[in-house]
Symmetry: C2
Subunit: 337 residues, 2 copies
DNA sequence: GGCAAGACTGTGAACGTTAACAATGCCCTC
DNA sequence: GAGGGCATTGTTAACGTTCACAGTCTTGCC
């Protein structure tokens, strides 16, 4: 910068002013400075800038297993939205989720000087870690439950599960079974709640959920158990599309036809779902909207530069009807008599 | 830091020495400093540190559509390896890939002061952008072709395609059709090359590849065309698992049984593949190894602090036999007579 | 007891930028 | 034509570290 100043015949401060679009720089001076910058190939040093302004224009993202479609999509849209707003994104992907791990990640990022943090915290234990935050650090939780005083952006899991369950009941099924996600996950919990609510409100029996861990393999295991009950079970709501794939596979292997003998509904709408056999009826989550909203909320907090009222944004899910769910083959009410 | 020094009754420099594990600090002094740090909750400022040392301990990653399984897994393992080595990772995900976009991303990251950059550049156009790098910036390309003088880490696509094609020939198929990835992608190109090599070497006819774009939808379109040729076509090598899913779907719809009437082999081994109907025979890419290797190479460059000989690491792929490929239903050579 | 060597600690100046304030020159008004 | 105000520029001091060097204190040896 000193070199630029010398070449342009001005002071370093004037160069700084040109760079920051300050008022009150004569057009001719500005041109001379810009020419010098161009000539010397000067690039301003963000680190020095961050030191004095106390703003790094970088955000942190803490996430869990960004290999999964949901977190990957969320992180992707967060990054896009952040960059569009002129911020960079530093990512910490946690292999295992526990309170200490999340807290460490938050501390690391705070040390690194990020201006704010988005925590993709879909587990109860991760959400708890938000109680002990680095002081004064703007934070937004994604899918993070509604405890504490951290702003939260999330998809309405309960509403999504309702859509799925209601659809199956509307098709004339007597009740709906459920293959759930791991119990520590808030999303799994929300989907169970929505499913249970609808069954209870309709006065239907509520079967014991089959536990899965989001993986196709666990869905496969659940599917085998369901296949053994084919005839008694005519409809299943599976907590995500990957497990639904495993369920479909197990049913196919056991000769249970979908949807004729058993209807299956998933959750997420991953790009593959449309091409399962049969194409999967599911509930779409708008991860793009979640990412964009979380950045909006976070930037508001950063720019306010002081504590702000906590915000809770909820993104509605969308039902996607395909071929894996059809009317019950039995007249309604014929079962369990 | 000045506060800590005051509380501990030493100079700021001694505090710095304690923080950096310098020799020649008396045990008692060190204890006093540590106590003061603890008492004040002092945290060292990475930005100031970066300014004077000229090392941010941050790496940049440029990638394309981190929603796809391959890039997502690669970026994940890069992040893990980097953090294990004490580095943070800033990510730039590109929506569209072109030379200018990659160059801009590299410039942004360089401005931001990263110590090195990993470019996940599976397209020809992205690889070309590596010709005009920010001067003196250590860079490693992942899946980036072997031009220029940038170090490259990649999975051996040609070998993987060979494994797939040879397997199908070994099963007695007369020839193997191919559903390819988008033409700009180096991976797509490598898979075509391996496939073509094996067919040519075996003296088999080389059918025109069907073009896809990695998506299940494009695989579905290709699958319908293949189904129309069932009888003539008995074996297909599909350039990734997602497209293979689309192919399977189309074949199922058209009543073509897999593998009895047509064998299908994919590429990638995504977690879902094992649960397709039928479970997909495929070629596994070890994305974890790719990520780890790329960080190793990059850190070597950074620590050498000067130009280093270019390295080209190749990670071998692994064949995974499942149920979607089986011996030809026709005696070998019975076709095209 | 003096002296050299090594252990330990402190002082001042960087690093490259922005903030705060001061200084200059010009125009306009009275 | 003197003075107030504004536009433009320069000067100095931060920001929070580490580096280079200069001390001071101990220890051991002659």
């Amino acid at each position: 910068m000193a070199d630029v100043a010398r070449v342009a015949g001005v002071s370093h401060q004037t160069v700084s002013r040109v760079l920051n679009d300050h008022l009150n720089v004569r057009a001719e001076t500005r041109a001379r400075v810009l020419a010098a910058i161009d000539q010397l190939g000067y690039r301003r040093n963000f680190v020095a800038r961050a030191l004095v302004t106390r703003h790094s224009r970088r955000l942190g993202v803490v996430s869990f297993d960004t290999t999964l479609y949901g977190p990957a999509s969320t992180v992707y849209s967060i990054e896009q939205a952040a960059r569009a707003a002129g911020y960079f994104v530093s990512i910490v992907s946690l292999r295992t989720i526990d309170r200490a791990g999340v807290r460490d990640a938050l501390d690391y990022l705070a040390d690194q000087g990020v201006d704010g943090i988005v925590v993709v915290a879909p587990q109860r234990s991760a959400a708890q870690a938000l109680d002990d935050l680095p002081a004064g650090m703007p934070v937004v939780a994604v899918e993070g439950g509604h405890a504490g005083d951290v702003s939260v952006v999330s998809v309405d899991q309960v509403a999504g599960a309702r859509l799925a369950t209601e659809h199956l009941l509307d098709l004339g099924h007597d009740t709906v079974w459920h293959v759930s996600g791991p119990s520590d996950w808030l999303e799994a919990e929300g989907r169970i709640a929505g499913w249970r609510d609808v069954l209870t409100a309709a006065g239907r029996p509520v079967p014991e959920p089959l536990n899965g861990d989001w993986s196709p393999r666990s869905g496969y295991a659940a599917g085998r158990r369901l296949a053994a009950m084919a005839g008694d079970v005519t409809a299943v709501f599976v907590a995500n599309d990957q497990m639904a794939l495993g369920v479909l596979r197990a049913l196919t292997e056991e000769g249970v036809r979908v949807p004729e003998q058993m209807s299956v509904v998933g959750f997420d709408d991953i790009p593959e779902s449309e091409f399962f056999s049969p194409p999967l009826t599911t509930v779409r989550q708008d991860f793009g909207a979640v990412g964009r909203c979380s950045i909006e909320v976070l930037l508001r907090q950063i720019e306010a530069d002081g504590p702000l009222a906590r915000e809770c944004l909820v993104v509605p899910p969308e039902f996607v009807a395909r071929a894996s769910a059809s009317p019950s083959c039995r007249p309604h009410g014929a079962v369990r008599n």
